[in-house]
């Protein structure tokens, strides 16, 4: 089953490689991994999307907690949460296709953030499935380049991950 795990860890050089190294050394999946400092500059927050049986996810959580620089681990998928991912996609947009592409971006609530006479750069935010749907909706020969951040997530209501 797919899980989205949030981690608060010391914002120190090498902390990221400890987490990434743990996943590769123990053969756990990483679908995506994002990390950035928090409002408290001494802490980073990482979001990992992974998958595995309940036993594997339990081990992942325990092994993460065992890392000395990890302060807290929180499996967002245990409850209500919001999950978002950002994608930038550069598409060919010429002639009649320009208007069509603009309409499609609007339907997905995407924004055009870069324009040349041959292409658009479209910014799209949402759950991964929405980004997949957008890519599925356009003619793949028109896609010049895509970049995605991987998912970030936050718990709803009282589910707060803080030191």
């Amino acid at each position: 089953m797919r899980h989205i795990i949030s981690i608060l860890l010391e914002n120190e050089s090498g902390a990221l490689s400890r987490v990434a190294g743990l996943f590769s050394a123990r053969g756990y999946n990483i679908e995506s991994l994002t990390v950035a400092p928090t409002e408290d500059a001494s802490l980073s927050r990482m979001t990992i999307v992974t998958s595995g049986s309940d036993e594997v996810i339990e081990q992942i959580t325990k092994q993460l907690n065992k890392l000395i620089e990890v302060v807290k681990v929180f499996d967002l998928s245990d409850g209500e949460h919001i999950e978002r991912e950002l994608m930038l996609v550069k598409v060919r947009a010429v002639g009649g296709g320009r208007e069509e592409m603009k309409r499609l971006a609007d339907i997905f609530r995407g924004r055009i953030v870069g324009v040349t006479d041959k292409d658009y750069i479209i910014e799209l935010t949402g759950p991964g499935s929405k980004l997949d749907a957008f890519l599925g909706a356009i003619d793949c020969s028109l896609i010049l380049e895509t970049v995605r951040t991987g998912a970030s997530g936050i718990g709803r209501g009282d589910r707060i991950l803080k030191v």
Partner: protein, 565 residues
């Protein structure tokens, strides 16, 4: 007053009460060696290879419960030390390994003797640090010692660039450590302990399975009190030998791949299993699917939450320091006046005694060639079971574990997790230094001993009267055994050709060498060797080349699918 980083480093070691540092100098650690030279509180032991330094620190630690300290230079010093660090990591041995690094401005430039120490050691340390500022040396070393010894112990590497050891700062050793991200659980959960008590009191076929955590956690006395109080059978893992006295009637021997028939059968057929400081690894329970074919309730005490339900699903986990939890358990057992079902226990013991009567460790005692088991048995008799025994890895290690009855913890020093050939001699160096007047023997084989044989020179330099018991069968015995059983007797590259004359070799290092070829000579030779209190004696026993270790649970099989003699 401002001190340079090297002096700060040495002062930190003094503050931690370190008496021995095992190491090897080199370019990046010259300032630290200069400071070691100027003082005499911390004694330096010069090994002949960095792997030996870490193993020696490890042996020192395992035999004393203190932290072992090693010091090596950058680059090859570090890569040589990695085997030692990984060995300590797999067996949860608390070490602080200080490594030199090229100057900060040269890091990342592919400088001479540079390697990414933090990167290379990351998967085999409990934690590691790169110290980039001289002001951080003292707080980092304080943390390193704290992390190494607390929670589930393990090796910590502190990498210090050369310019940082030359730079100056005020020295103050921190009194306390506080880390928001590291707070190991000590006390067991009271509710879980209650559940455990209920299960133990209702058990019909109980079994206690104690591992290295009992030895590392200094809980042997508490374990013994509990096992005797309950009257239950107890087995120790390879790492846990000595945690429960081996000559006790309730001891059913070591379990696992080369464990006794009775220990493995009792593990397989018990209804309540109490696992203490053990981790159900593949060499212990064999195939976990087979293990689960028999229903049983499992209680598991361990300091490391990630050891619980890792390979085997546990019913009652208790996370905590093994000693604290056992003390609490003993208190509660006494308070509740827990009396196990006497009839059920009697029936269970008669079943176990039936398994025992298979005499699974029997071997031919009348053979005309030396049987390795006989050497270990004689060694046990002659040392009164009171020696510190280190070992290498292979058949000799298993025979040592099966036939030397360890009655005290921290007497059996071996590489159980990583299985590092070459561990025996250098770890004996650390053990002998920690226990100057005591008997230290290294049980080894002609293949293993050659992996760190250079440490014979260290033994000479520091007058270490270690007794080396070389069970020489001219084969990498365990490899040969597997090839015989599973690879159609094709002994691919397992014959040890071109062996040195070990007697002359020992003599060339300034030690005493002996060759023993007949069973009748074993006892006399051992007596003569152990009478030489101030000399290292290398005893080369020419043993039966075809002898195998039994019983054996083949890889991937279940505990009750043993091959017996």
């Amino acid at each position: 007053m401002e001190l340079n980083g090297a002096e700060i480093t040495v002062r930190c070691l003094q503050e931690e009460g370190v008496d021995y540092v095992f190491g090897y100098p080199g370019g990046s650690v010259l300032y630290i060696y200069d400071e070691l030279f100027k003082q005499d509180k911390v004694k330096h032991i010069l090994v002949r290879h960095e792997q030996g330094a870490v193993h020696a620190a490890d042996g020192y630690s395992r035999s004393t419960e203190k932290i072992g300290v090693a010091l090596v230079t950058s680059g090859p010093g570090v890569t040589n030390a990695v085997t030692g660090i990984a060995t300590a990591y797999m067996d949860s041995s608390p070490l602080v390994v200080i490594t030199g690094q090229v100057p900060t401005h040269a890091i990342g430039q592919d400088a001479f003797q540079e390697c990414d120490t933090v990167g290379i050691t990351r998967p085999c340390v409990k934690h590691n640090f790169l110290v980039k500022d001289v002001k951080d040396i003292a707080p980092t070393l304080k943390k390193a010692f704290y992390i190494a010894r607390t929670g589930r112990p393990g090796p910590v590497v502190v990498d210090i660039p050369k310019d940082v050891t030359a730079a100056k700062a005020e020295f103050e050793y921190p009194k306390t450590v506080s880390m928001r991200s590291y707070n190991p659980t000590i006390k067991g959960h009271a509710g879980q302990i209650q559940k455990a008590i209920q299960l133990l009191s209702r058990a019909q076929r109980p079994m206690i399975y104690a591992g290295g955590g009992v030895v590392l956690g200094n809980a042997a006395a508490e374990l013994t009190q509990m096992v005797r109080g309950l009257g239950f059978p107890c087995t120790n893992t390879l790492m846990g030998l000595g945690g429960y006295p081996a000559s006790d009637a309730q001891y059913v021997g070591m379990l696992g791949m080369h464990g006794t028939y009775e220990a493995n059968m009792a593990m397989q057929h018990c209804d309540v299993l109490l696992a203490i400081g053990a981790r159900f690894d593949d060499r212990v329970i064999g195939n976990p699917v087979h293990f689960f074919e028999e229903p049983r309730t499992i209680i598991h005490i361990d300091i490391d939450p990630s050891s619980i339900s890792k390979r085997v699903k546990v019913d009652v986990p208790i996370v905590g320091n093994v000693r604290e939890v056992l003390q609490e358990l003993n208190k509660q057992l006494a308070a509740h006046k827990v009396k196990p079902d006497a009839d059920a226990l009697k029936a269970w013991w008669s079943e176990i005694d039936l398994w025992r009567s298979r005499d699974c460790l029997k071997y031919d005692r009348t053979a005309s060639i030396i049987k390795p088991q006989l050497v270990v048995e004689k060694l046990y008799e002659i040392t009164g079971g009171d020696a510190y025994i280190t070992s290498d890895v292979g058949q000799h290690q298993m025979w040592a574990a099966q036939f030397y009855k360890f009655n005290k913890p921290r007497r059996w020093i071996n590489s159980g997790g990583l299985g590092t050939m070459g561990f025996g001699l250098p770890s004996a160096v650390g053990v002998q230094l920690a226990h100057p007047g005591e008997t230290v023997a290294c049980i080894t084989g002609e293949a293993s001993i050659q992996m760190c044989i250079q440490e014979l020179s260290t033994c000479k330099q520091y007058h270490l009267p270690i007794k080396i018991i070389n069970l020489n069968n001219r084969y990498m015995g365990m490899v040969r055994q597997w090839q015989e059983f599973f690879h159609g007797n094709r002994y691919s590259e397992s014959y040890m050709d071109a062996l040195p004359d070990f007697v002359k070799l020992a003599e060339s290092y300034g030690h005493v060498g002996m060759r023993i070829e007949k069973p009748a000579d074993i006892e006399g030779a051992l007596k003569e060797a152990f009478a030489r209190k101030d000399q290292l004696v290398f005893m080369d026993f020419l043993t039966d080349q075809t002898e195998n270790v039994f019983p054996m649970v083949p890889g991937g099989k279940g505990l009750s699918e043993m091959i017996l003699v």
